[in-house]
Symmetry: C2
Subunit: 205 residues, 2 copies
């Protein structure tokens, strides 16, 4: 099964700009991509990066400058099954990836926080994606429309994508990979305020 | 194994006060408690509510006005194994509860977002809790100190506790219980702004 990892390295993770400058955000996005590729490969999968521009990674790359949904749908028109795993999931480990692929279902979704679709396995030829808006809800509706059985993988390791600074708390606490190490080296630390921890960045001497 | 469900109904969920008045917040906290009791019982477990005040529920209640950590530790001094499951986990279902209890480990933690400890199974007589601060990190350290093997259950259904309005997005999308129905009836709706959905409350006519 082809496992697509969509990637757009042009101006990534703008909502982290309170913590990181442009170059750092590109480095972070790239590290997260490499971590996702690495864990997929260690789980015995063969990822293909779906990128808006040339990217030097150690796996096949499909270039498509269309938006995310259009580019994925172009593949879904030609191939089935296809999986799509987001590139900003630094908590992923082999157990979580195995759970995704072992789950039965015409459409299997690992939901993200806030209604996202952080990973998807499509085994039904008529299913199409729309990542805009509350995509979990829209994908569930689309699956019902085409008569595809829907399963979910309610995994914390898939649910946490990196959008906002406080998402990094989860990487510092539960990450097992290069992204977690890079954050430590960059001085990102957990700061205990309120009932949920937040992060701050230290000046490194 | 005793399964404690700590509950403090005095002034619950103050960070939801932009959406709900005091009476509604008490109703919501109580409904979430009942949902957790219900799912534990359906999973074949026998919950005991650990409450700061009398509470009329259909299971045993231990009254203790000490703080959460002190009250749990008093039980841990007398009994082992003990499990502790938070009362504000409206995404819980039987599969998630089964996964918690099936996981081997002297100490098993289902982490919450932001470093919390949303469920805990303690099979080591020297382990004690401290829910203040980044409790996941502190509990991992405590387990190491007493030589207890630590396992985690990285489940989305355990990770989402209800602290802030936008946590309700997850209940509306993934909840399967009375709390989700109550939110719908109260006019809480998903509002699509930004890459993660948020909630708003409708005026009901």
């Amino acid at each position: 099964m082809r496992v697509l990892v969509p990637y757009d390295g042009r101006d990534p993770k703008t909502r982290l700009s309170s913590l990181f400058d442009d170059a750092e955000r590109r480095t972070l996005a790239r590290l997260m991509l490499e971590d996702v590729i690495d864990v997929l490969e260690r789980a015995g999968r063969t990822p293909t990066v779906l990128s808006t521009a040339a990217v030097d990674v150690d796996c096949p790359v499909i270039l498509d400058q269309a938006g995310l949904s259009a580019a994925v749908n172009r593949l879904l028109e030609r191939e089935c099954p296809v999986a799509v795993v987001m590139a900003d999931l630094p908590l992923l480990n082999v157990d979580a990836v195995d759970a995704l692929f072992e789950r039965d279902g015409d459409v299997v979704i690992a939901p993200g926080l806030g209604g996202g679709t952080n990973a998807l396995v499509v085994r039904h030829p008529e299913f199409r994606v729309d990542y805009h808006g509350v995509s979990y809800r829209d994908h569930a509706a689309r699956a019902a429309e085409v008569g595809a059985g829907l399963s979910t993988v309610p995994s914390f390791r898939f649910a946490v994508d990196i959008d906002e600074p406080d998402d990094l708390v989860e990487v510092l606490l539960h990450g097992e990979n290069a992204t977690a190490d890079w954050l430590e080296d960059a001085g990102v630390r957990i700061s205990e305020t309120g009932s949920r921890a937040v992060v701050a960045r230290e000046e490194l001497g």
